[in-house]
Symmetry: C2
Subunit: 122 residues, 2 copies
């Protein structure tokens, strides 16, 4: 099942994999596989949550959140995921970039939820 | 002008502001203001690029990239942006979360573009 809405994540620090992609035209098995991959990712050790949006013009951003860089590396190396990555490269995406980032601070609409993670900058 | 497609960013490290939001129904001045804010953000010191997607159900992810945490803090504190943030909180968003993260590694479809930024994990 794809992630729905805004992910509930613990206090930082944790890691984010920001996957920005441009889809080719047509489904070609994409939706079915994407749903399988969301479920598989969610079952991996260190998975914290994910958010995913795609617009009608085919640009998509999926951010998955993980306890550690190692958890992301393990997911990248997962055998079933590796096969899907190859299909993505060949068939589903005209282009994509994955950025691995350490989440350091979080704030939101209800700031009281996030006070513990805020820090002062100069 | 809103960002279009996948952002071209320099070699990491740099910072990302991941803004995930759920829109209320109706435009209520949102699109006009969003376009102004994209242009204003792009003119700020330390701005590196941005990616933005919203789906038909109103969930959106905008990731803006910055040279430093301080550049993000300066943009957050920008007077015109502050007013818009208040309107966003009151009118445009039922909920949102902003995560500030340090981008450490990047890879993409054409891995040769990103080799300099890859590191080995155990």
């Amino acid at each position: 099942m794809p992630p729905i809405g805004i992910a509930s994540t613990p206090e930082p620090p944790y890691y984010a994999a920001i996957f920005t992609s441009q889809r080719t035209d047509g489904d070609r098995g994409y939706e079915h596989t994407a749903q399988k991959m969301f479920a598989l990712a969610a079952s991996q050790p260190g998975f914290l949550g994910a958010e995913s949006v795609r617009s009608l013009d085919g640009l998509g951003i999926t951010v998955s959140y993980w306890e550690s860089e190692q958890a992301i590396a393990n997911w990248k190396a997962n055998a079933e995921h590796q096969l899907v990555q190859q299909t993505g490269k060949k068939i589903w995406y005209t282009d994509y970039v994955i950025r691995i980032a350490k989440v350091e601070r979080v704030y939101g609409k209800d700031n009281s939820k996030f006070q513990a993670s805020s820090v002062k900058l100069q």
